[in-house]
């Protein structure tokens, strides 16, 4: 409840997402078509909206399975926004650009749409 109201009160203001640095982690399991699609989608979004102020770290859990625990990864691919705070998790291949932008706080959440 409190989280929701905090989010709502932040909405009218300029979020720090519009100016801050984005530290992003993309979790994948091997170079599957879905992994590659997610990475391509992410790069496109970043280039369009975050030029010069983002970093993408790709973590292949097939190589480093022990890292799944730290960020509570279940679904793949998952994009974790480490910065700016709060941490956000975007599940899926980011093909839904609108939702991805909302999830990254690059576009305000529209109340009618879920």
């Amino acid at each position: 409840m409190s989280a929701t109201s905090a989010r709502r009160s932040r909405k009218p203001r300029k979020s720090q997402a519009t100016t801050g640095f984005f530290d992003l982690r993309l979790y994948i399991a091997g170079p599957t078509a879905r992994s590659l699609a997610a990475l391509a989608n992410l790069k496109r979004i970043c280039d369009e909206h975050l030029e010069g102020r983002y970093r993408i770290e790709v973590i292949d859990l097939l190589e480093r399975p022990q890292l799944a625990r730290g960020d509570q990864i279940l679904a793949l691919p998952t994009l974790v926004r480490k910065l700016p705070k709060p941490i956000r998790k975007l599940v899926g291949d980011l093909s839904d650009t609108e939702r991805a932008l909302v999830g990254l706080d690059l576009r305000p959440r529209s109340p009618g749409k879920s």
Binding site: A3, T4, Y27, A29, R34, A37, A38, N41, L61, L62, P65, Q66, A68, R69, Q72, I73, L74, A75, L76, P77, T78, L79, I87, R88, K89, L90, V91, G92, D93, L94, S95, D96, R99, A100, V102, G103
Partner: protein
């Protein structure tokens, strides 16, 4: 790698099984859960799913050399550790020795946003890593349905869960998947559709303000299993299931005898008293002398130097000692020597499972030669009679196997039908003594008869007995013109000096 325990050997016709090490559950399932396959355990909140799962892992790691992974979707590792500790078990040393791995999978719905196609490979990798890093043979997923709260694409989720369970099968781990009881099906999200190897249902219900737990094996592919609901209880040593219909009746039967503590009563039982390892029921209405008989029995055991355990559900130890002193029986020295131990409790203070637990544990711990339960009928106020019956059957079996002789007293409410009110337990009993108060000619006299005593010749007479300051005495039968004389009639008759001629030919009664 690890030694294969002998208990794992299963009959050829049945699927291989992994013993749970949980008392009673391995009996019902004929040896444990299906080896290398997932088992679904479902039930409402607080029904004991998590504890059962934990015990499965603990026993696996400790007794069966099978490391285990506990993946919780609900509790943090710290909470889990605490819960394990509540079973008297600290998981940390085992974790350090890589016999156990606890992990918490956090699903925060408001943290997760779906932006396109995905699968649950992250979970697979995480679980696979945990399994491989300790060579786990057992896995618990508690409660995986939490995923449905975090991920909205249920169609994807369902497909992935199906894949997960199949993957667990190919990994060859014996898994427990817990599920919350749903309104329509067995679980809220129909997990029973995917896990068909074995399904166990737990239930926690309150009957007349007493909480009772039940367990039922709903399905067990490739194996026979007990289909009944079995009561189970949870205490600090974990879960114990009490299979109602599992009495093997294969216990050793002895021919040894032991005294009832009353010489005249020994005489009625073929001159030698009860069989060792048998169960004795002493029933009667209030004030007929049940506790006195129980006291004599315990006293006789102590005199032989045998330990006895007295469960008192009506009186405190001090009360029993005081009251029995009035009939010339002093149990105090036995209490002092520790030969006699009295465990007094009001049945209403804890539920049926609490009593089962306490009695079982005490008997198991003290290993007495003789046990008294006084009265068993007070447990009726705790559970329904089906449960009391199951509990008794279990307890009696437990004691018989250990050649303990047990005496149960039972309060009969209906004076007219003493045989009808004993909650159907008499069939478990080898010897049944019925005590009665009979009002006649303005006085009450006590009667005793042996209703049955398996495997020995016994008297069929209804005998009058008296409780004197010197003890319990059975009086000889006195007949006058075909009429049995009791009480003051008998005394008057004895005064006539005709007793010797007309009695059954034995000593004249003393009053």
């Amino acid at each position: 790698m690890s030694p294969r325990p002998a208990t794992r050997a299963a009959p050829v016709r049945s699927v291989p099984k992994s013993p749970t090490g949980i008392q009673g559950l391995d009996e019902i399932t004929g040896g444990g859960l299906p080896r290398g396959r997932p088992t679904l355990i479902c039930g409402g909140p607080g029904c004991g799913k998590t504890i059962l799962s934990m015990e499965f892992l603990i026993n696996g790691a400790r007794q069966f050399g099978e490391p285990g992974v506990f993946l919780s979707f609900e509790e943090t590792v710290d909470d889990l550790t605490m819960n394990f500790a509540s079973l008297g078990f600290d998981p940390r040393p085992l974790s350090a020795r890589r016999k156990l791995s606890l992990d918490y999978v956090r699903v925060e719905p408001h943290e997760i946003l779906e932006t396109g196609a995905y699968d649950l490979d992250g979970l697979f990798i995480r679980l696979g890593h945990a399994i491989d890093s300790i060579g786990a043979k057992r896995v618990v997923l508690d409660t995986i349905e939490t995923l449905f709260a975090g991920l909205s694409q249920t169609r994807v989720l369902r497909a992935e869960l199906r894949r997960l369970f199949n993957w667990l099968r190919t990994k060859g781990v014996t898994a427990i998947v817990t599920g919350e009881r749903g309104e329509a099906g067995m679980t809220r999200h129909g997990l029973e559709e995917y896990i068909t190897d074995c399904v166990i249902l737990l239930d926690h219900r309150v009957v007349e303000q007493n909480a009772t737990r039940r367990l039922r094996v709903v399905k067990y592919r490739g194996s026979t299993h007990g289909a009944n609901e079995s009561p189970f209880f949870i205490d600090e040593s974990g879960i114990s299931v009490l299979p109602i219909a599992s009495l093997g009746l294969q216990h050793r039967v002895g021919t040894g005898r032991l005294s009832t503590g009353v010489r005249d009563l020994d005489a009625m039982l073929g001159g030698k008293g009860y069989f060792r390892g048998s169960s004795i029921l002493v029933s009667g209405s209030a004030g007929t002398g049940k506790t006195s008989l129980a006291g004599y029995f315990a006293d006789a055991a102590c005199r032989r130097g045998e330990s006895s355990l007295y469960f008192a559900f009506e009186e405190s130890a001090a009360q029993i000692v005081r009251n029995l002193r009035s009939i010339g029986l002093d149990l105090e020295p036995w209490l002092g020597k520790g030969l006699l131990q009295v465990h007094a409790a009001r049945p209403t203070t804890s539920g049926l499972e609490g009593h089962l637990s306490a009695m079982h544990r005490l008997i198991d711990e003290k290993r007495p030669r003789v046990v008294v339960v006084d009265p068993i009928s007070n447990l009726i106020s705790v559970g329904t009679s089906v449960e009391v019956k199951a509990m008794l059957a279990r307890l009696i079996d437990f004691m018989k196997v250990r050649q303990m002789t047990a005496l149960f007293t039972s309060l009969t409410i209906d004076e007219g039908h003493p045989e009808g009110t004993d909650i159907g337990i008499s069939s478990f009993m080898d010897t049944w003594l019925v005590l009665r108060n009979i009002e006649q000619n303005g006085e009450r006299t006590r009667r005793l008869n042996v209703l049955k005593s398996r495997g020995m010749p016994h008297s069929n007479q209804v005998r009058e007995f008296v409780l004197t300051s010197h003890g319990l005495k059975l009086l000889d039968v006195v007949r006058d013109q075909g009429h049995v004389l009791v009480g003051s009639e008998r005394a008057a008759y004895a005064g006539d000096g005709a007793v010797a001629a007309r009695s059954t030919g034995r000593r004249s009664p003393r009053r």
